[in-house]
Each structure stands twice: as structure tokens, then as C-alpha cells.
Amino acid sequence: MSYQKFFNPEESYSRSEIEALQLERLQATVKHCMDSPFYKERFRKAGLSPSDIRTLDDLKKIPFTTKQDLRDTYPFGLASVPLDKCVRLHSSSGTTGNPTVILHTQKDLDAWANAVARCLWMVGCRPEDVFQNSSGYGMFTGGLGFQYGAEKVGMLTVPAAAGNTLRQIKFFTDFGTTVVHAIPSYASRLYEVMCEKGIDPRRDTKLRTLVIGAEPHSEDTRKRIENMLGVKAYNSFGMSEMCGPGVAFECPEQNGMHIWEDYYIVEIVDPDTLEPVPDGEVGELVLTTLRREAMPLLRYRTRDLTRILPGECPCGRHHIRLDRMKGRSDDMIILKGVNIFPIQIETILMQFEELASDYLITLETVDGNDDMTVDVEMKDLFIDDYGKLQTLNREITRQLRDEILITPKVRFVPKNTLPKSEGKAVRVVDTRKKY
């Protein structure tokens, strides 16, 4: 069957068409925000009025919105519509302080489903596909977000949810699943269990496409997962504050994620000075929603660090591309004055085929010194030779030191021994003494 290339006409808009639509929607959004007591007060304090926003550049006059603002106004203080117009609430876990709440009207949910459907369509998902969503449901937006998006494409959608790996694999073979959504560490786990059960993903399943997101992962991790499962894996970016998945997604070029600029205005700022970074440089992603009814957010600091990839994408979409996330500004480890992101460590580890995919970074104070230990899981066919294991250990340590400028202690551990929380791998444990 032949289908149109784009799911929505906005996908192929030129830059000037995108920007014209953005300005129109920004002005409408700002006006709508005045129905939220929070933004009304913000604008009053800043001496701003919605009519001051005449160009896209005027966006910079608006103060930033932060996660702390979401917490401070918990639960409903940022709503721009009465609660009876809202039909859904998602809440993110509050590991520090209040959790955050995101409200949706029916229009918001429809727009969200459309965005996810657009992403899936872009990587070749079609109504004849079978989509298995092996992601957590409930409050985790990767569940319902992909559910509605996949249904919008017209795919047979299996809400398998996370966990129960044997059942997941049975669904693959029984239902002829062609597309799976899972976090990267779970995709590796699915493969391990398939191997244990003598199932060859290439021979025994129809898996073709994998959607991975939610956990930062390196290009090597992606390649490794693609090779294991015999699929093309596409990086997905989203966050609950922006609905969830469907914010940005890789196209078939697999070189950066197109962020839908008819939905969001993108800024990249220096997290310290809050000034825009030069084109192509890494900074904190700041997003302004353009299609949100219940809870529009203006200049929301996502705390995700990334950069805009320069140049045109051969796929024909002019929506800008974000590089894979470098981590979150709050994931950053500062050890002995050096800034380190877990993804840097992962990138090195994934180059060693002796290692399985999980690792754990522990920061602890030993004799008054702050040290880093990296536990790495051995694969099954490890080397039964102490000399070679020591050589391997030294090589891993050396490459890590070259990358992060600190010499960590590398420790081999048996597979499946590193901690996991709700199926998502725990990557950093910090027990350092805080002074």
C-alpha cells in the first residue's frame, strides 16, 4: 500500500512558514496565559503585557518558567483553564519536594496523540504494523502517550507495559509485533532473555523498528541494540512537562531529532548565565509550548542539555534537529571540580564487547577523598584469565580517565547484580559527605 510521506502538512513547512505560524501561536499562547494567575502575576511583575510580544524575538522579554515554579504552584496553580475543562492529569515523581502536575484538556490530548503519531509515521510506522508498548503505563507518560499516538497512526497497539519479560517475548512471536517502544536498558534485557530461551529475534520475530527514549544513551548503545535485535532504533525525546513523548524524534536519517516547531519554540541557553549559546553549542534546552490549552508553559527550562545540529536534513523537514541529550543539568556529576555526565562514561563502556549493558557509578568519600567507582557487568563469555581481566580493567580505566580526566576505580561484577528501580537502570549513587 502506498501512503503520503508526511503525517501533517506542517512537517514540510519552510522556515518562513514555520516562523509565521510560531509567531501567531506564541501571541495566542501568551494571551491565553493571562488566564493563569501565575503568569498574570509574572507579567505584571515584569511590567509586560501580551501586546509587547510583536516578534518571535520578543519572547526573550518573558521570564523563564522552572520546575520549581511547577512545584510551588502544585497542584493546579499553573492551569490556564478551569479544572472542569481538564480531562487528564499526569504527575511526575517528586524525589525532591513536591511532585509536579501536568493537566490536559481533550484538545491537548488530541494534539499530543497527533505529535506522537507524526513521529511514528516519520520512521515508517503504518496501519499494518503491530505496535507493542513495553513502557511503563500509569503516570509515566511513555505509556499512554505512545498508546494514543500508535492508535492514531492506525496500528494494532498492544499495551504490554513494562516487565514480565517472558510474556513480552511471547507477544512478539504470537502477535507478530513489528514495532516496539522500550527504554534502552529494557531493550537489552529483552534480548538477553530471548537468547536464554533460544529465540532469535531475526528468525523468530517480525521486529523491525524500535523506539527508544527516556534514558540517555550513546550512539554505541543504539548500534548495539540494533545489532542484537535486528532492528532500526530511533531516538525519542519527550518530557512530562511537554505532555510526554512526541516532542522530538529522529527521522530515518538517524542524525538528530526533529523537534516539532509548530508545537514548541526552541531556545538553547547557558544554564549559568541564561544567555543564548552560540549556534551549534551545547546548552540547556528551553521550550515554549504553542499548542497547549490546559497548561501552557512559557520559556520552560527543561534542564536537558543538548545542541541544535547545524545544516539541513536530507529528509525534507525544516524543523530543527536536536542532538542526542548530553544528560540533564541536574544529572551532572561534579567530582573534584570536574563536570562529568554519566553518558560520557557509558560511551566508553559500550565500546568493550566483554561488558554487558548495565553499569553503576558510585561516588563516595574514602579517607576524606571523593572517589568514583564504576561497576561494570561482565557478559557471560567472560575471560577466565586473571592476567587478561587485569589488562581489560586497566584499558577501561585508561579510556575513562582520558574522557573524564579523573581516574575511577573500575570493578567487574557479575551480570544482573546491579540495582534497578522500576525497570529503569540506576546509574549513579552518590554517598559523598556533604559539607
Binding site: 536464554e196 586473571y386 592476567g387 567487574f412 557479575p414 551480570k415
Partner: protein
Amino acid sequence: MTVHQLSVFIENKSGALVRVLKLLKKENIQLIASTVADTVDYGICRIICSEPEKAYNVLREAGVTVSLCEVFAIELDDTPGKAADAIEIFANEGISISYLYSFLLKGKGILLFRTDNAEMAAEIIVSNGLNAIEEKDISRLL
């Protein structure tokens, strides 16, 4: 000339070894020889047992980090100096022993070892008429 050996990667903490051994016990797999070497962080437990392939699958399915490999096995008369004579042959040919362990079974000494050059070691065993043991001999010896 070689026998199957399980190499189990275990954490250096109490209960790690017993977990492995209990898994084998549950399947009625008999240990014939074993050795544990340790470093600060981890240990490798090497095991010769009845039904090594079954044992390998049992451990794997239980999530244990394990590999199944081949080690040389030779039988020696149980008299002083026999081990020295045997190993000297390899030393003279410039072959290093990576690790070695031994046990006594029905009046015979059995040497188990791995070298840095399996091909040459195999030739030496044949050309020197050393009494090599095969996997099938293991169950016979029990």
C-alpha cells in the same frame, strides 16, 4: 585430552559461592574438583563436575555469570615427582601454565590446567605420551 570446566564469576561477598553450589546441588550435579581464586573485588570459581553442560545451563538460567570452557586433563601415577616431571616438559617447550589444580581419584593424580598455547600443549601431550583424560573418562572415574 580436554575436559569441560565451568568458570563462574562471583562477587567477593558472603553467600555468592554457596548460591552457585546450591544451584548445582538442587540438580544433583556432583562436583569432582573445584578451585576458587580471588582478587579484592571478585573471584573465579572453576569447577569440574558431572554433567557440565547441564550445570552450565542451570547456572545461566539462574542468571549466574558463567562460561563453559576446555581445560587439559592428564593422569599421573600417584608417586612423588610425577607432577614436576610433567610440567617440566611444558616449561622446556616454553609454554606457560596460566593456572593449574589437581586432585586425587582412585589412586591416580589428575592435573587440570590451561596454557597460553593450547595447540602446542596438545602436541606435547601426544608426543610425550602423557596420559590424557577425555570428558567421557570423567564419569567413568566417578
